[in-house]
Every structure is written in structure tokens, then in C-alpha cells.
Symmetry: C2
Subunit: 190 residues, 2 copies
DNA sequence: TTGTTTTCTTGTCATTTGGCAAGTGATTCA
DNA sequence: TGAATCACTTGCCAAATGACAAGAAAACAA
């Protein structure tokens, strides 16, 4: 039943007893579409492993309009790392884009386990490595790829998004206007 | 003398004996402009703390042309995290953009200390957090800011770069052509 | 169901940036 | 020193995208 949690912590050095201690620290919660998990300006006190549904992160630009910074899908960890680990007010808002089922762990529990469970810090290092790599790829793609290609890649990698999220939010994630995205879609469908 | 190394590991949980063990694992090396520290396709076996000079990271796009992905300046850690920590061939090349003085630590030494030195994993988590945040900022900037503003921010944050690096390399880092950057510079100077 | 709001599409025109090519200096190196 | 290469600038035109506005379609609420 907590398999989704277990598989989120998959790592060679993290097995048996140790892994189960981690898993046990997570608590199930269901949220409805629109529910704000972590609001802007607040210090994040937990992170979430997403079992089902879709979580969106966004910031506000200098004009006050929303820019989507991330979409979290099932199996991923919905988190605001800099707020959580630097204990600083979050610049991002985490909100449920659809009804979702999550497994929550508090920062305090995490912190305890990070020091006590062998292999956990190793797992964390790998998780960060992968996140950093993914984010570098994203920066690179914004530079090298056309908007059309960025959209197509999103569609193939996270098709769930297209079904459930308004075009405007997808567009801001891709770095274009909703008008442009609408035209791109038209172009593609021909 | 190794102050630059010490200050790179500044963290509340990393002091005294423990810190000195880390510092002792670093070895000084001098490199000339053009020296490749980590070539594409090879598994990174170390990382570097930069005392003076300038290190550039780049990848090749689908057409084979260089895209600068990062500039490392004095005090920063020149590293290819995914190659180092996943033991995978590097997609990036690390090259000295000017003559530089570095403090090198091997992956094996790092790995040993990561497990033995209390507080080191905590430091690492914070370092990753900051890196990830910076990279998110960069993605966001590529979306929201005009090329002119991206250039101006680079100039104020890392002015060393402009003096020492050819325009083409700066342009690819900013996601524009050298032609455009040349025009932007002209525009600014008026 | 009706009315209201949100979402999406489309048209027109402006702005940003790219592609290509020519030309000028500067640097390198044999 | 001369020839080659590299770095930068500039002009011209094309392509991609944005801004604004109107209207159609869909979702939502009373």
C-alpha cells in the first residue's frame, strides 16, 4: 500500500529495516484540486510523495502574473528544496492541479532520519544530483530548442498534464504566451 | 593559504578537526588557459575549488556547436555533479578559460570523508540546495527576462567573465547568437 | 436552465532574435 | 613579415514570438 513511498526511496544502500523506518514516517493525505500545499512566503514544513494526481508549482513575475515552474506527477517528490532546507520563506506556491493522494513527511522527521538512517544521505545526494541534472537540461532546452519542440517533449514525457491543466499554465511553463501555444497546437495537428 | 578551501566548506556543523580533515584532502594545482579538466565522455574522478582564474563548462548541441553551460569564478566549486556522483560519462567539458589555481579532491577521498566526517553530508545538502535554486533561477530568467537584462545581470554578477571570454561563448551561455549580443552591447553603450 | 466566467482560438501588427554575408581589426604562428 | 585565423561589428531580410483585441466554446454557478 505504501509501495509508492518505498519506490521513491529506491537506492542500493537503503533497504530492509532502514527503508521501513523511512516509509513509516510518511502519512497519507488526500487533497482536492485547488488546495494549496505550500503557499508563497511561508517556510515549508514538509514535502510530499505523490501517489496519484498532479501538483503544480508557480511563482509570480515582476508584473504579478503566474509562471509555472514545475509539474509533479505520480511517483515524484513535490517539494520546495530551498525553503525546506534553508528554512526560508518559499518563493514558490505548491498547489494541487487535480485531486491528489500524497504521502507527507515533516521536516523534523526527515531531519532525524537523515542523521540516523544509514544510506539516507547517500540517497539524498543522488536525488539532488538527478534534480540538478534535470534542471540543467531544462535551462539548456530553453536555449537550444524551439517552443514547438519543448511542447512536444512535455507532451510525451508528462501527457497527464495536457489533459488536466489549462493552456495558460502550460504556456508559462514553456516560456511562451498562451496565444503562441494555441498556434503551436494548431500547427502540430496539421 | 588554504583559506579559499576552508571558506568553500563554511557551515555551522563543519568546524575544527573535521573541517581540517576535509581541507587536507585537497591538493593544489595550477593550469594554463585552455587546459581541459574534465573532457566530455569521461567519468569525472574529482572536483575543484577555484582559488583564482575562470573555468568554463560547455556541451555540444545537435549541430555540434558549443553551448556554454556555466562559468565558475574564484571561490566556487568547479564540478560535473551527475558524472561524479552517478559515475557516468560527462556530457559537459570543463576547461580553463584563463590560467587558474585550483584545489582538487578525488572522488574516492570525497566519498570516504562524506561518510566519516560529521556534518559533511549536511553541508552537501545545503550546497545542492543552493545549486538547485540557482539553476531554477536561471531557467526562470531564460523565460521571463529579455536577452539584454540577462546580459546586464551577468556583467554585474560575474564581471570577470566579460574581460576574459570571447563574446561567442558568453552569447551561447545567454541563449543568443554572438551577432545579437554584439548589437545588445552597442545598444547598452548608448 | 440561464447567465457568467474561464478557456481557447484567431486576426492584425509590432518586437525580438536569427541567419547570412561582408568588412575591419587583432592575434597568432611559421 | 606575411598569411591565416579569430573576434567583433554591421547591414539586410526572414522567422519566431508577443501584445492586444474580438469572438467562439466550454465550464461553472445560481
Amino acid at each position: 500500500m505504501k509501495d509508492i513511498v518505498r519506490s521513491a526511496y529506491r537506492h542500493p544502500l537503503l533497504v530492509g529495516e532502514d527503508l521501513e523506518r523511512l516509509v513509516a514516517a510518511h502519512h497519507r493525505c488526500e487533497v482536492e484540486k485547488g488546495k494549496v500545499l505550500i503557499p508563497e512566503g511561508q517556510v515549508a514544513g514538509e514535502y510530499y510523495i505523490l501517489q496519484s494526481g498532479l501538483i503544480r508549482a508557480f511563482v509570480h513575475d515582476y508584473e504579478g502574473s503566474e509562471i509555472t515552474t514545475e509539474f509533479f506527477v505520480a511517483g515524484e517528490i513535490a517539494i520546495v528544496p530551498d525553503s525546506l532546507f534553508q528554512r526560508s520563506p518559499s518563493k514558490e506556491t505548491l498547489v494541487a492541479a487535480t485531486n491528489s493522494v500524497l504521502w507527507k513527511i515533516s521536516f523534523d522527521d526527515f531531519q532525524l532520519l537523515f542523521h540516523q538512517v544509514p544510506g539516507f544521505s547517500e540517497w539524498g545526494r543522488l536525488w539532488f544530483t538527478q534534480q540538478l541534472f534535470a534542471m540543467k537540461q531544462r535551462s539548456l532546452e530553453m536555449i537550444t530548442a524551439k517552443a514547438t519542440d519543448r511542447y512536444l517533449r512535455l507532451v510525451t514525457e508528462k501527457p497527464q498534464i495536457i489533459q488536466h491543466v489549462p493552456l495558460k499554465q502550460i504556456a508559462s511553463f514553456l516560456g511562451i504566451t498562451d496565444t503562441s501555444l494555441s498556434r503551436i497546437r494548431k500547427e502540430i495537428s496539421q
